[in-house]
């Protein structure tokens, strides 16, 4: 069953066609990678799915939902959570606070009730804290729990950002370059987590990634684009050997 269906998607920025007539479908439970050279339009596709940009043409459906009818802050309610290419955490808050914001949409809230911490507020905090602790254990970030994000090293931030997305209990994760800037060891960790997330949590993953080693290890299918246009779609092996793809990477033979 297809969960994410993107049809003839297009957007332009001042005449530049960043995404041009791209279509693909992602099956439920699969790990789907999008590759392409710098500026190919990969992040833009993510930003279109999370409704940051309005497409000039095309449609995006997730399950029954037409995402183009969904307000940006409601996208998460359809089950789609994401990370950002440049890591976008709440810098002056602790790791724990960041993760609890991940629970935001599931926490009932009423500002006046919160102000007097009315009966039930403590129980609510404890209940959601328990969920957050599960994710903290999964991602092995317990020792960072009370630290400010601004004090964390790069690798830890990447983990916290993924953890924050997981706290929302998504059914589809959009990961924009989960391994960029990480060393080999950290990248291996990422591939383990991605497999755990896929198999244990049953989450569908769509990821943008330059590290073809990682893509080969975790992705079921790969979409290659260049200059906003479709190049190739298939297993990692097929896409890697596609002439058009190799051409796009200008002989750097992926």
């Amino acid at each position: 069953m297809s969960s994410l269906v993107v049809k003839n998607l297009a957007i332009e920025f001042g005449g530049v066609k960043a995404v041009d007539d791209v279509s693909f479908e992602v099956e439920q439970g699969e790990t789907f990678a999008i590759i392409g050279p710098n500026g190919a339009g990969k992040s833009t596709i993510f930003n279109l799915i999370s409704r940051i940009y309005e497409p000039s043409a095309g449609s995006i459906h997730y399950g029954e939902k037409n995402l183009l009818d969904v307000a940006p802050h409601r996208v998460i309610d359809t089950g789609i959570a994401r990370t950002f290419q440049n890591i976008d955490l709440f810098e002056q808050a602790t790791v724990l606070q960041n993760l609890l914001v991940g629970r935001h949409r599931r926490m009932s809230q009423n500002i006046l009730r919160d102000f007097v911490f009315f009966a039930g507020c403590r129980a609510r905090e404890r209940e959601h804290r328990r969920k957050v602790e599960d994710v903290i254990d999964l991602m092995e970030i317990a020792h960072y729990r009370d630290q400010l994000i601004s004090d964390l090293p790069y690798g830890a931030r990447k983990n916290v950002e993924l953890a924050r997305a997981l706290c929302a209990e998504p059914t589809l994760l959009l990961l924009d370059e989960p391994a960029s800037g990480l060393n080999q060891e950290e990248t291996d960790d990422v591939s383990f987590w991605l497999n755990d997330i896929k198999h244990d949590l049953g989450v569908t993953i769509v990821m943008v990634e330059h590290d073809m080693g990682l893509v080969g290890r975790v992705a079921d299918r790969v979409l290659a684009i260049n200059n906003g246009k479709f190049l190739s779609l298939g297993t990692p092996e097929e896409v890697r050997n596609d002439a058009a793809v190799q051409q796009a990477y200008l002989g750097t033979a992926a």
């Binding site: 999370s50 440049n86 002056q92 808050a93 102000f115 905090e125």
Partner: protein, 358 residues
Amino acid sequence: MQVIFKTSYNQDINILSKTGQYIRVTLLVLAMLTAPLYLDVYYLSELGMLLVYVVAGVGLMILTGFTGQVSFGHAAFLGIGAYCHSILMSMGVPFFVSLPATALFSGLVGMLLGRSASKMHGFYLAVATLAFLIIVETLIGEWTDVTGGYAGFSVPELEIFGFYFVEMWQQYYVDLGVTLFVLWGTANLLRSPSGRAFLAVRDSELSARSLGVNIEWVKIQSFGISAAVTGVAGVLLAHHLLYLSPETFGVLESLKLLLMIVVGGLGSILGAVFGAIFVSLLPVALSILRDVLPDEISQQAGLEPMLFGFIIVIFVVFEPDGISGRWRKLLHFFETFPYYRKASFVRQKSYLKTERMR
């Protein structure tokens, strides 16, 4: 690094988690409660005034320090609070009805301002809030029938349940009670989804939205709560001033509130407290300064706002964490003595944003 061993989630949920914190706050509250025993009327009224500014500072802190929305117009809410309450009281409305009613009214005005300001950032927001201040100040000045206009408005005596609270110690306890309630409530916000949504909006609207935070609504709420709290400070202030006039709630007062939270330390409740102490001591420093400086300078009309601006710049440049940041470092020094290392507070430089920024 100091490691706190945790045995339950409650330790993180409780407002005061460390024993040291608990002892310090208890001692401070005790000292405040017994203040009328050892302070004379003059100092007691100064202390009451300090509490008023703590409340006002917390009000602005909620909006600027927690939600990241700057306001140059918060004196307007002090004014709205002071006038609304005084007018209600003079119509015979009891104190304990007038106080929440004023908070509600001020909060609603704040939400309206927030609604129009929710899509603005930085400079535009600063100008919009400043414009709001000027409108409110003018309105109070011109609406002579209700507010007494520029001639002023005499504040009715503080009367609660038919008892007149004319003694300073009685008024002080009202100030203290309200202040403690506001501090407690604000700390509650910070351990709840509402408060965390404020921090999220402050640090990144983009990812806050992607996690389901309704940015516009959060800003409106923040403006509302912030205005309500500042309005309550206005209520308390009215009883200290005894006589209201529109100029009291002008740009200089707004600047003073901003100065408070910047100097105290943006982003923490403690910052508002330290800021209020700082601002209360400022007139003393100012009068000393007037004595030392040559007459040509000390008699200049703009000395006070200039000094305010100057102090804000100094703090923004050299001590962005404010006094409360200093205080945290000092505490850390004692708690970890003799293992304190200067490096504890040096930011990790290992984090660099990726080159591919798009």
